[in-house]
Symmetry: C2
Subunit: 492 residues, 2 copies
Amino acid sequence: MGKQLTSREEDYSKWYNELVIKADLAEHSAVRGCMVIKPHGYGIWEKIQRQLDDMFKETGHVNAYFPLLIPKKLFEAEEKNAEGFAKECAVVTHYRLKTDPSDKTKLIVDPDAKLEEELIIRPTSEAIIWNTYRNWIQSYRDLPILINQWANVMRWEMRTRLFLRTAEFLWQEGHTAHATKQEAVDESRQMLEVYATFAEEYMAMPVIKGVKSPSERFAGADDTYSIEALMQDGKALQAGTSHFLGQNFAKAFDVKYVNKEGKQEYVWATSWGVSTRLMGALIMTHSDDDGLIIPPKLAPIQVVIVPIYKGEEQLNELSEAVRPIMDELKASGISVKYDDSDNRKPGWKFAEYELKGIPLRIAIGPRDLANGTVEIARRDTKEKELVTLENVRSHVIQRLEDIHNNLFARAKKLQEDKTSSVDDYEEFKKVLKEKGGFIFAHWDGTEETEERIKKETKATIRNIPFEGDMTEGKCMVTGKPSARKVLFALAY
Amino acid sequence: MGKQLTSREEDYSKWYNELVIKADLAEHSAVRGCMVIKPHGYGIWEKIQRQLDDMFKETGHVNAYFPLLIPKKLFEAEEKNAEGFAKECAVVTHYRLKTDPSDKTKLIVDPDAKLEEELIIRPTSEAIIWNTYRNWIQSYRDLPILINQWANVMRWEMRTRLFLRTAEFLWQEGHTAHATKQEAVDESRQMLEVYATFAEEYMAMPVIKGVKSPSERFAGADDTYSIEALMQDGKALQAGTSHFLGQNFAKAFDVKYVNKEGKQEYVWATSWGVSTRLMGALIMTHSDDDGLIIPPKLAPIQVVIVPIYKGEEQLNELSEAVRPIMDELKASGISVKYDDSDNRKPGWKFAEYELKGIPLRIAIGPRDLANGTVEIARRDTKEKELVTLENVRSHVIQRLEDIHNNLFARAKKLQEDKTSSVDDYEEFKKVLKEKGGFIFAHWDGTEETEERIKKETKATIRNIPFEGDMTEGKCMVTGKPSARKVLFALAY
């Protein structure tokens, strides 16, 4: 069973699919479009969760849990939201199976156990949550509500891809309620900042923050903000969204509060989420033809130590030398694994940990022991260094930081190299075809033009960035006035 | 809105239901039998999760994630398991809604989107997991597999109660695969020990470990081990189970491995789980007529500080004195909240934090400030002590430990007081009726006798304890030989 991957140049999509499987991150399950997240993949997701959760709590949020199933009637209440998700809902219609009378080894759906009202598996939880908030909110004293939920959701996608688009996925969804519009807008912007900080400082993935065009808004939102990242193949990936929901859900579910002046008002809302899709972004931002590269801060194992030995006696000597290194690294909060398993050769292990993206590998053999050194190899650059035993700790700390910085710089450079600014539609098409990447161009602000560009080129407006070139101009397609250039790309 | 609870003596069941609602732990949702876990309740669950997760990892387990939905055909494969859960399965039959042609504001299930094969929402994941393991296991080198999953599951219960029995609940389920029977038995016993340690050392809840009688086994298991706790009202609660599954799932899903001798063998299995039911156990082990009492190691907030002040100036002075205390406590890993909100009086706050079970409350007013002291009140005993500012940290650390020990001792004493040993069936019925609690009695080991006792008294065999009186005797009902007394009780 060779572990070699198709090269990225040969077929980027194939490389991705192979990498996810071969690096033991995830696999397809027996259920159409649903994945199994394997321990190595889940370990990275746990690090993502833990870090984001800390950041949510630092910004005043608490976690809670709302039901998986949503009664159809509740789901209908916010019309746009319902319309946006109705076509991809898994529907529960019965609550019991029974033995098949014609074959006792089989089960059939019990027709007597039909639900009076169908339940849908949550594609997102605004409906059930706002129906609940109605009872929690009476006065301004009950606001704001700052709640997050870690959960599984289901959207019955027709074409699925591991991590990037699956019927079931894991995510977090924040749902907040506020007394004023400004507070809700500020909240949705704040959470976008949290996502951007997480993307850059933990995933080492540069992102562009901005607001979505109206046609790309979340169903039920007044405004959707996004962070957009650029993958190695020049396609964009929406890595997180934060929605200012206005009073849409408050009105749909009749959620009012009495303000300080004793007047009843509708509550203002936000929601925001990131999902296991981030795993796809992480993979396609950093990895290479030899496998995964995990940014150090999200690596479940940051350092692996491989002894190179013949016979048990040598192994014992090496293990004794390794023990204080392990202790020292663990005491510094570094996660380290010692792989002294005897059913694989060191060369096999080296390739395996490279494939799995472990940031640093330490090799130690009898000659190292005699010299009081170890060999430390970086996953990102493949550079190897001899380090004396007493310097291992400080070297590892430094190199983990270096790797993070190098990964970010590499990704940033790629993003810059693949970012263009064009003024003409023909040029736009040419750049899109030949180079791909992010393309800044003027747009007249209409849905028709946006739709036409999408139809003719498959490129979409990723967002209207908060920062960057704010010069006015003329729409590249219609020549009508444009307030500023917006960000286009082909996207995942 | 009074927060006063029905007393436990008056109506224990009512007290429980009110407490869960009034202490903001959970509430009923719009979906029959499904609960909303509110932030305060979820905060405790997060502490439970974090601690158990650490213990699972220390014993070599890793986390992964398997699909929510299970194809009916897979679910049928292990007959007993299927039979055991078929009657309470939520079934997904369609994957799309569409606009109701007769009313554009409504959605209906799209009959064209009927699934070829129905999917059930997992009531437990053995089926989907063992179907997956088949592809992961070829040789002894691939074993053991030591995986845990944190997930939501659904069992369509007809009579539900918050935390104790809900259609959807949160849990962890470990699923391990082993080369030998002994290794699997050891694993299932080890995980029961982990649960018992957690119950006693973190929940401050004494438990009795043992093996279930065959009729009470998990559907599909060769042996089920359990920890049983005794609630204040004298009823038992099964707080965790660990199953030795033999080769049942390996045979149902054809999971074989090649052993060191090159021979194909079926794999041995275990599974083990605890759920949000533990929240119910926690509540009914410790709480009192004034509200919840949270064991300190699982309290999201361990210490609350309430300033007693008039006017902003006094508040500022107090806040300044409180800041170093907060810093000191946080630096010692203690979670502390400073409640200087101005819309509630101190008395209201005291009652509220009592109701919510915060282990320690620190009150500080101007007179305290002048004397250089604070008042520290314990939730468990209601005792108050004056403590000098410089001693707050050491006092808090000591008292948190004292509270844990006191809660455990109290619960242990209650368990002992409510444990009886009887030799005669009439006496058994009398004790059960008048005193309740755990009752040790001889049983002839047959399902008929067990069933008769259950029918006549509602008492069930909780388990056959690993420890305790091992003397032989005669069954209290039939007079037939009994190897030892077993543990009976009325149970949740």
